[in-house]
């Protein structure tokens, strides 16, 4: 089938590009002790790859469940939800309680709360009456702002000393990926990925929409809630590693669809991850080499992603 061949070729091309970038990232301009360079850059690279994969997968899954290619967890406020959950947990236990706690345990606790909270958010957004896409998007964007501001508000209520501890824990960014979380993050993302692989064809059916999927024998509610739990874990991991990345998922998945030219998950999912890796690793190299660290990758992603999203909305409106 020519479709299949094109998708396969696209995947191979993306993989080669990603591999080349990773190689360049690890070796370009390296001087001195290789042991140090490889370990140092390897940690950074692992962080970027984990985030790219988590954001891309969570976006694809979210779009499958909502049967819509414009909605993403980032845009619908799920990232902000994580920040708020982490802030509230911290505020509830206080700095004294948290300081003694292993950051990994703290993170696991956050993930558990996040799963529950994001199910509630999903049911609130999609469970009730049918809403038009634009209204849904506006609700998501404004709710995201509300959650972020609420998190900031709660943070300001904290004692300034406690706030310092919290900001150490919470305000990660691309240039400051917390190394102690890389292990548990790899574990969680690996587990979710392994869980997904046998479900790829079932995801194709779910992507056809609720009535068709039920007709074809999918136990809709159970499946969707399980997928959402996976999305929550992925979102939580990405947010804990680098903070908010509102538009990365949208850009990566849109480009992946363009590249593979079809919607089967066994092509789209890996393609989206690869595009995410290309964007993040390439972007980080751009930041480090061209801008000499004079800017932040998060800002570039936000800038380019926002423009892409507006362009997508305008293009949809014209049809």
């Amino acid at each position: 089938m020519p479709h299949e061949r094109r998708a396969r070729l696209a995947l191979i091309g993306l993989a080669l590009l990603a591999g080349g970038l990773i190689l360049a990232f690890m070796t370009l301009g390296a001087r001195g002790n290789w042991d140090f360079v490889l370990a140092f850059r390897g940690r950074k690279l692992l962080g970027l790859v984990l985030v790219a994969h988590a954001v891309a997968c969570s976006t694809v899954l979210f779009q499958t469940v909502t049967a819509n290619r414009i909605l993403t967890p980032g845009i619908m406020g799920f990232d902000s939800l994580y920040l708020l959950c982490a802030t509230l947990l911290f505020a509830a236990f206080g700095a004294a309680g948290m300081a003694g706690l292993d950051p990994r345990l703290d993170f696991a606790l956050n993930v558990a709360v996040m799963i529950g909270a994001s199910m509630a958010l999903y049911l609130w957004l999609f469970g009730g009456e049918e809403r038009s896409l634009h209204r849904l998007l506006l609700i998501g964007v404004v709710f995201g702002i509300f959650l972020r501001t609420l998190a900031e508000f709660v943070q300001r209520l904290l004692d300034p000393n406690e706030f310092m501890v919290l900001s150490d824990r919470l305000f990660a960014s691309f240039s400051d990926i917390p190394p102690q979380l890389l292990g548990i993050a790899s574990l969680l993302i690996g587990a979710v990925t392994l869980w997904l692989i046998p479900r790829l064809s079932r995801l194709d059916v779910i992507g056809l929409g609720r009535p068709v999927a039920i007709n074809l024998g999918i136990t809709w509610r159970t499946e969707v809630l399980a997928i959402l739990a996976a999305v929550s874990v992925l979102v939580a991991v990405a947010a804990a590693l680098v903070g908010q990345v509102l538009f990365l998922g949208l850009v990566a998945v849109s480009l992946a669809h363009l590249a593979v030219g079809q919607s089967a998950h066994r092509y789209v999912l890996p393609a989206a991850s690869l595009v995410g890796i290309i964007l993040l690793v390439g972007g980080q190299m751009l930041v480090e080499r061209v801008f000499a660290f004079g800017t932040a990758l998060g800002l570039i992603v936000e800038f380019v992603g926002g423009i892409t999203f507006i362009a997508l909305l305008v293009a949809r409106g014209r049809r």
């Binding site: 404004v142 509300f146 932040a296 800002l299 926002g306 999203f309």
Partner: protein, 321 residues
């Protein structure tokens, strides 16, 4: 209650809030101290408390009017300077001035900020024109995204030139730095916002749309341009003096119009008074809830504003266009 009595009650409430605002804060100012003529109490009152109270009243009233004006001219209930690219573009203009001409007087910075704000709004309208399907929900959505893009671009510049700290002064509405001599520009902003009242009937007619307005003998283009220029100027003044106060211009006119309908001339005084009152209340809350620390008025307003905006989107929107 007659309309006049209701207005009087609202004014009395705002006056009460303003008076309360004078006596809230880290440094103790007591009525008895002032009456006895104690120098320290007078100093704090004249140099800090009164300027702050006036800054709150002026910026609250003028931002709310700017929001109302924008909603009428763009013909969408859910736009306001913070979700139409206007406020962020003003911040970008101020940043550019800081980089290019750091020694320029505040009024020059404000003028450039206003020019950028106008350009940002024009960009927003240009994007809207490319979307033939005018879903009322799409307008604020695109505006919010555009604001995000402009904000990211501004932060990018600030990061590059190491002035992120300075950027915070405009991105976060904060009145703790307001002193005598640092807020007077807001009078100009309020005066410009007052212009909107004089021209209110024109704007109301322009709000009926290009065709109706033209057939009634109004130059639609010119009135819309005037309206957006007023909005840009007011926004730039507020951003340069106290920083970003998000959603104020959105929720106040919407709540007022629920009660009063859409006649702009009737709505303007109510919008101004409610805007001033709401900002005063948010500031008092921000100053007392975590005393002696302060929560910036921009954060309090952002929280309340986004919550009310959300309710407005959820409950209706049928009358949004």
């Amino acid at each position: 209650m007659s309309a006049r009595a209701r207005m009087a009650a609202a004014l009395a409430l705002v006056a009460g809030l303003a008076a309360a605002s004078l006596f809230v804060g880290v440094s103790d100012v007591s009525l008895s101290g002032i009456l006895q003529g104690q120098d320290r109490d007078w100093l704090v009152l004249v140099e800090s408390r009164i300027p702050r109270m006036l800054a709150l009243v002026l910026s609250g009233a003028s931002m709310a009017i700017a929001g109302l004006l924008m909603q009428i001219v763009i013909r969408n209930r859910f736009v306001e300077p913070s979700n139409a690219g206007t406020m962020e573009a003003a911040g970008l203009g101020l940043l550019v001035m800081t980089l290019v001409a750091p020694a320029a007087p505040v009024i020059a910075k404000m003028a450039v900020g206003a020019a950028f704000a106008l350009a940002g709004t024009a960009l927003f309208l240009a994007i809207l024109r490319r979307v033939p399907l005018r879903d009322p929900m799409l307008v604020p959505l695109i505006g919010l995204l555009l604001s995000g893009v402009l904000y990211a671009g501004t932060s990018f510049l600030a990061y590059r030139f190491d002035v992120l700290q300075g950027l915070l002064a405009w991105t976060q509405g904060d009145l703790s730095g307001v002193l005598r001599g640092r807020y007077e520009l807001l009078w100009l902003g309020a005066a410009v916002a007052g212009l909107a009242w004089f021209a209110a009937d024109r704007f109301t007619v322009a709000g009926l749309g290009h065709d109706v307005a033209s057939s009634l003998g109004l130059s639609h283009r010119r009135v819309v341009a005037l309206g957006l220029a007023i909005v840009a100027l007011v926004t730039a003044v507020v951003v340069v003096s106290v920083g970003r106060i998000p959603f104020l211009g959105l929720i106040v006119p919407n709540i007022v119009s629920l009660a009063l309908g859409d006649n702009m001339r009737r709505a303007v005084p109510w919008v101004a008074v409610s805007g001033a009152g709401l900002v005063l209340a948010c500031d008092i809350l921000g100053r007392t809830i975590r005393a002696p620390y302060e929560i910036p008025v921009g954060t309090v307003m952002g929280l309340i504003g986004s919550a009310i905006f959300l309710v407005l989107i959820l409950r209706g929107g049928r009358r949004a266009a």
